[in-house]
């Protein structure tokens, strides 16, 4: 393997690589965000504890929904995303609608991420001190208000490192979506390698690009996390500190 060849491949095929990076990022970022939304709903509902006095139909409904969510999580965590991608893509394509491959890719990665996010969100909610819930309820706030104003903001903050982890995982694991011919970074690399017959050099460049993407994501995620923690721990001593803290809060 020669580094000179690597540079040559990179400069000659930079447009292909860039197109691949763009698709990879679109799929990974959208998949993570939609997955987080799915996780908030599924994990949030799974974390609800009904009062002993709740109406019987509510208890039955809760139980049924819990079972469905449990099955969803087990299936999507328990099978490879590559298998999910081909199966779901062809299932829908041949039986329901001739859908766009890109839509299929984002759908698969979202629903797969959602299964992991649901567990992350649920553990984040359960890690919030029960006293927070009791205090809100004792002031007369409803269980919904308590969830949205008090518990979820703290749960998301607790779970943020794990949520960020999913983005990094998705940047790398979106490579399996080339199985349904999504032209992401891995797919582009395969074509380049097939054209140049320089397999080692091409995939070395590919690996470096993935590493760049994940490193930059890590830096951004760390910065966000630091900012989230900053407003909660700095010790206000003077008026200027008060101002900087409220300004920092507004920026968030």
């Amino acid at each position: 393997m020669s580094l000179g060849k690597c540079l040559e491949i990179l400069s000659k095929y930079k447009l292909s690589f860039l197109l691949g990076v763009r698709t990879t990022l679109i799929v990974a970022v959208l998949g993570t965000l939609i997955g987080l939304l799915i996780g908030l709903v599924v994990g949030g509902i799974r974390a609800i504890r009904l009062d002993k006095t709740a109406a019987p139909y509510k208890k039955v409904l809760k139980k049924a929904v819990d079972i469905i969510f449990r099955i969803y999580i087990e299936i999507f965590r328990g099978t490879p995303m590559m298998v999910q991608a081909v199966f779901i893509y062809y299932l829908v394509y041949t039986n329901i609608v001739r859908w766009d491959k890109m839509v299929a890719a984002i759908f698969v990665i979202s629903i797969n991420t959602g299964a992991y996010m649901a567990e992350i969100v649920r553990s984040g909610i359960q890690a919030v001190d029960p006293g927070q819930n009791e205090a809100a309820r004792s002031l007369g706030m409803s269980s919904m208000q308590t969830m949205f104003d008090v518990v979820l903001p703290q749960a998301i903050k607790n779970a943020f490192p794990a949520i960020g982890n999913e983005l990094i995982v998705n940047i790398k694991d979106s490579s399996v979506l080339m199985i349904i011919s999504i032209t992401e970074l891995m797919f582009q690399s395969n074509s380049i390698a097939g054209t140049t017959y320089r397999f080692t050099e091409t995939y070395f460049v590919t690996a470096l690009i993935y590493l760049c993407l994940t490193s930059i994501s890590s830096i951004i995620l760390n910065a966000i996390e630091k900012k989230m923690n900053n407003t909660k721990t700095s010790l206000p001593q003077s008026d200027t500190d008060f101002k900087s803290i409220s300004m920092a809060k507004e920026e968030l």
């Binding site: 927070q132 205090a135 309820r137 002031l139 008090v150 809060k249």
Partner: protein, 241 residues
């Protein structure tokens, strides 16, 4: 006029009987202190009045209504404030927002009025300088004073205190007890679970001594502290005074 009437209340957790027929009354404007050894059911009794726990038997009437029959629990809770041992300030909000959120959500107060009321109550507990501070930056005594202001912002008719000074180091106990004494002077109706006997003696109109889920003795501070009739009360007071 009795605003809290507790009659023969029973409560168990998985076969363990915590309250075995508790009865007492709290009149309007009174400060009543619940004292007794740990595990005697004092905190559970308080939590039942706030509906954080259900009772298994007996009845609790507050402001003339049987609270087991209430249709709107949230409105009821907004009228009965609660102050916790562990403060339970909302960690994701600053001091001001802690005092405003329930006003906005439950009482539907407009933000400016809510802000003014929050500032007023924070000033009364000496925490007006800390409106932008987050709970994690405050001392225990400061947190508890904010928690009291937060409860007062709902303009409750009754305040329940669940060992408000037990999690504080000794130097901070007084700053919180002073705030509660001030409320007593303004004739706030209060039911206070406490281990601070000196404080109970000074502010309480009535003392209730509980042990192992029953009320052993109740009466004026003078009766309980100077001339206890019950043997268990005498034993307990001998050790703590």
């Amino acid at each position: 006029m009795a605003v809290i009437e507790v009659k023969d209340v029973r409560k168990g957790f998985d076969g363990l009987h915590v309250l075995k027929g508790i009865s007492f009354e709290v009149n309007k404007g009174e400060a009543v202190c619940l004292i007794g050894p740990s595990g005697s059911g004092k905190s559970t009794m308080l939590r039942c009045i706030n509906l954080l726990e259900d009772i298994d038997g007996g009845s609790i009437r507050v402001l003339g209504e049987d609270i087991a029959q209430l249709k709107d629990i949230n409105t009821y809770r907004s009228k009965v404030g609660m102050v916790f041992q562990q403060f339970n300030l909302f960690n994701n909000m600053n001091v001001l927002d802690n005092c405003m959120i329930a006003q906005k959500r439950v009482l539907k107060t407009d933000p400016e009025t809510a802000r003014q009321k929050a500032l007023l109550h924070l000033k009364n507990v000496g925490m007006a300088d800390f409106v932008n501070a987050y709970p994690s930056t405050l001392s225990g005594g400061q947190k508890q004073r904010v928690a009291i202001a937060r409860a007062l912002c709902m303009e409750p008719e009754i305040l329940l205190f669940d060992e408000p000074t037990s999690a504080l180091d000794p130097e901070m106990v007084d700053e919180v007890l002073n705030v509660i004494s001030d409320l007593n002077k303004q004739n706030m109706t209060m039911l206070i679970v406490t281990h601070e006997m000196g404080f109970a003696k000074d502010v309480a109109d009535k003392i209730i001594f509980m042990d192992s889920g029953v009320v052993c003795e109740q009466g004026s501070p003078a009766q309980i502290f100077d001339d206890p009739q019950n043997e268990r009360t005498r034993q307990f007071l001998k050790r703590v005074l």
